[in-house]
Assembly symmetry: C2
Homo-oligomer: 353 residues x 2
Amino acid sequence: MTGQQDMNAKDLRRGSSSEAVELPEGERPTLKTIAFMAGLGVTTVSRALKDAPEIGRATKNRVQLIAKQIGYRPNRAGVRLRTGKTNVISLVLNAQSEIMGLTSNMVYGISEILSQTPYHLTVTPYSAENDPMQPIRYIVETGSADGIIMSRTEPDDARVRYLTEHGIPFATHGRTEMGIEHPFHDFDNEAFAYKSARSLLIKGRKKIAMMAGPTSAVTYHRHLERGFSRAIEEGGAQAILVPDIDVDTSLGRIRDRTEEIMSGQNRPDGIVCCSGSAAIALVAGIEAAGLKIGRDVDLVSKQSSDVLKWFRPEIIVFNEDVRHAGRELARAVLRRIEGVDARELQSLSYPDE
Amino acid sequence: MTGQQDMNAKDLRRGSSSEAVELPEGERPTLKTIAFMAGLGVTTVSRALKDAPEIGRATKNRVQLIAKQIGYRPNRAGVRLRTGKTNVISLVLNAQSEIMGLTSNMVYGISEILSQTPYHLTVTPYSAENDPMQPIRYIVETGSADGIIMSRTEPDDARVRYLTEHGIPFATHGRTEMGIEHPFHDFDNEAFAYKSARSLLIKGRKKIAMMAGPTSAVTYHRHLERGFSRAIEEGGAQAILVPDIDVDTSLGRIRDRTEEIMSGQNRPDGIVCCSGSAAIALVAGIEAAGLKIGRDVDLVSKQSSDVLKWFRPEIIVFNEDVRHAGRELARAVLRRIEGVDARELQSLSYPDE
DNA sequence: TCCCAAATCTGAAACGTTACAGGTAGGCTA
DNA sequence: TAGCCTACCTGTAACGTTTCAGATTTGGGA
């Protein structure tokens, strides 16, 4: 009864004030729309929708029902302006380093998780010429995301330091070595390199080379080297160093350089490669040198799509599930935003044959 | 002089009113900050920053200088709330159809253009199980983007119709056939199929098959068929139909099916393929059937990364520059948002050997 | 001298949301 | 009966921007 009277009183009050509230408006419904329909104040509606304790059970149910019925969705700009919360996760990527499907799978993995939340995903690539800090600084200065996911993590990563200092939630694809605990997901490249080298040793290969990550700059390069060296030492084999090409090198250059090396004196009889597309260029170089995979040399590669599986001649392949990495990273930033301790948001995935 | 006096008067007035404006605030500068510094009203500052005609030259210069000095950037939420303009372009993608680097290159191409504008890029993948309309509807209903870029365009595309009716700017990767003029960028798949088939005919191939786009659903499938048929007819060759596999088929299935076909009676001696990764699976199938590329059968493929260039055995390759497509599409939506006529925003790119 | 127009500038209101600081009604205690 | 607590609800202000409807000043013409 009282409620009903209130509502009428309110209608009148509203109607007489400047703007008349038309109910079946073609516009998007707002809190005001619901408030009018329910005969309540917008404050109450706002609280009812987020299950605040000071609102009665019955009212909550009624408000939530109306909201669902008319398809209410909070206006992001309103929320963002008022609270500063953007509901955006930003993926910061290096535009150069595209290891066959890496970016796409990462994006899809992240989206899988975000699609069940109010979060949107924005993608911010930066080119190699630019400072990797630039997009990060932009996001922080303009407050354009609640959390950041980034790759190409370095042992001493300026971005990690900066974001930690500013208290911005983030997760990295790859680990750091700077004594700062932060959320990450990493593929166990040490295990991959170890297993890869082992599989070559088992085939009787004795002079083994590795095509690693962007030299030393990126942390996983160190992991690869660690696993690789361990296997080499254990197997009493010889490591052949090829420091002048890495995953970032153009495929043409990789092919040419491989041909050179494979035509040289001390050529490897086994190669560990950590990128699917580079592997294809390697094969081209090897064959250009007149050698045959499986006979003169064996090749093990990591891949992040399943293309290499069908590649002939046969390459031993370990899979890195980047989509899974995307899911893990998304989950990690979200939970970090919720305040979960960074140490609980660190995960590793293992090479899968 | 007068200016100076005004400023003092204003400072005083402000200072005495409720909120004291502290200058060296650690917060992000807003219009109010500039207004205070310049001794002007926020309205004037807002107008001065966008070169409105009713503001004096001197004032504009002064305001713009201050803005630059203190690194002012408009608050997106404020603008969005007030004007409804999001400064967001949304890329809507099918998560399944990853034709080797397509997504990444598209994203990078778009970003290249957007990075010089106030626009951000959000990515919204949808899975094959879901209705392709769903993300589109979401964007329109929540007003979460000023423009949309989408791929997998169909001859009669519900999304195109919906967006056109709602007056939302968009650009498609691929053409429609529904009599609606809209911005698009397309790779000339007809020319590609024609040239590809021609190159096989020139090698003396007479029974030619094609691995086309997702059957008939997507427009470019028709273009491929048109170009293909034309070449076949002109060359008096025989087209071998393989309707049960297409680019969306899993690589494993493509390989197996290819082996079947190539082991059969009426096997093709030339194949046109429109996806790089599918080509690799094709080769696997061909070799599994005991045949040799270059001797028993020739293969022409489209590719969107340069991986196939180094693939052995040698495949004839035409390049589709998806990054360029991304740039074109981004430019198209932006100009469409500015109100440019759709017919001026339609472009085609040609196969490049 | 007065009036008008042009050139500049102005405050208030509004977009949709949440936080703050209450307000009211009803029931319970003393 | 008074006083107080609890449960529930409320209006106002604020986030930063742009739009609206003026306000003020200046210069010039009559």
